[in-house]
Subunit: 194 residues, 2 copies
Amino acid sequence: MKLSKKERQELVIQTIKDDPFITDESLAKKFHVSVQTIRLDRLELSIPEHRERIKHVARKQLDDVRALQLEEVIGEIVDLQLDEYAISILDIKKDHVFERTGIARGHHLFAQANSLAVAIINDELALTAKANVKFTRQVSAGERVVAKAQVKKNDQVRTIVEVNSNVNQELVFSGEFIMFRSSGKETSGEGEKV
Amino acid sequence: MKLSKKERQELVIQTIKDDPFITDESLAKKFHVSVQTIRLDRLELSIPEHRERIKHVARKQLDDVRALQLEEVIGEIVDLQLDEYAISILDIKKDHVFERTGIARGHHLFAQANSLAVAIINDELALTAKANVKFTRQVSAGERVVAKAQVKKNDQVRTIVEVNSNVNQELVFSGEFIMFRSSGKETSGEGEKV
C-alpha cells in the first residue's frame, strides 16, 4: 500500500516524535522510500538531521553529568535529567559481537546500561552495588541500542535505577541497578561493605 | 616477627597451593622479603615461575572451549573443566578504572565473569539469559581479579553458573548467570524469546 507524500510526512513526524534518534536509513526502510526522499521530507518539514537532533538535546544537559567523565559513558547520552531519567544510544559494531555467531556480547549491553545508571546520579560518587539484568532478544552488528534509564527509588543510602534497552522499539535488555552514592553512610564500591 | 627460611618456604608452598596464580611480587610483599628471595625459594622448592604455572594448567584445557573464541574471553582462563568449573584472571589496568576515583568499572568485572560463564558451557552456542550480580568491594588498578565459575545446575534448557571473583582472597564480585545453550528448545539470545 503506497502512501501519499502527505500521509508519509505525517507518519514521519509521528515516528520521529516517538523515537527522536531514528536515522534516515531506518525511516527510508520503514516507509519503503529512498533515503533522499526522507531527507527531502525533513527539509520540507523543517526537521533537523538526526545528529543535529541529538546534539541539540545533549548540549543542554551533558554538562550536568557529575559521577563520571562524559567520555567514560558507554554509548552516547542523548537525554538526561539527573536523578530522574536518561537515554543513551549505542551502535553495535563488529567488535561488539561474537565472531562465530554475530551476536552482540552481553557485557556491552550491560556496560551501556550500567554507565547510564552511574551518569544519572546527581552526586560526585556513584557506584553499582547490585544489578539484576535480563537479555531478552539477540542483538546484531549494525543495530542501534537505545537505553532508557529511570530512577525508581531514591533514598539517602541507595538509588534504584531501571534501564530498558530497545532496538527498533523491541526490548533487548532490561535491568535493575542498585546504586550507592557518596552521601551514603556505608562505604560503597563498584562494591559495598554491608 | 621474622620467619626463618624454612618457615617461609613452607608458607610459600601453602600459599601457592591456595592461590596458584599469585605473583612473585605479591609473595614478596606478603612475607616481607625481596622478589629475589622469593625466586630463590621457588628455585629451591622446584616451583615453576608464575606464568609457567598458568601455561601448564591452561595448555591442557583451553582447546576444549567451544562456545566462543579463546581470545574473546575477557581475562585469561587458567583452569577449565567444561560444564563444571573454570577460573580466569584479569589484571586491572588504568583504562579499566574511573579517571577521578581510580575505582574499577563494574562492567569489566561483569565482562570477566560473563565470558567465563559462556566459556564453561560445553556447547557451540551459549548465551546469557539473565544475570544477578553483586559488587562487594572496590577494585583498583594494579589489582588482579581471580574469577571462579562453577556450574550449579544443568538441565537441557538452561545452565546456572555461579561466579565469585576475588582480589587476594577477598570477594569483590559475585554473580549468578542463567545461561541458555544451543540444545535448548527456546530461541535464546544474549536473549530469550520466553
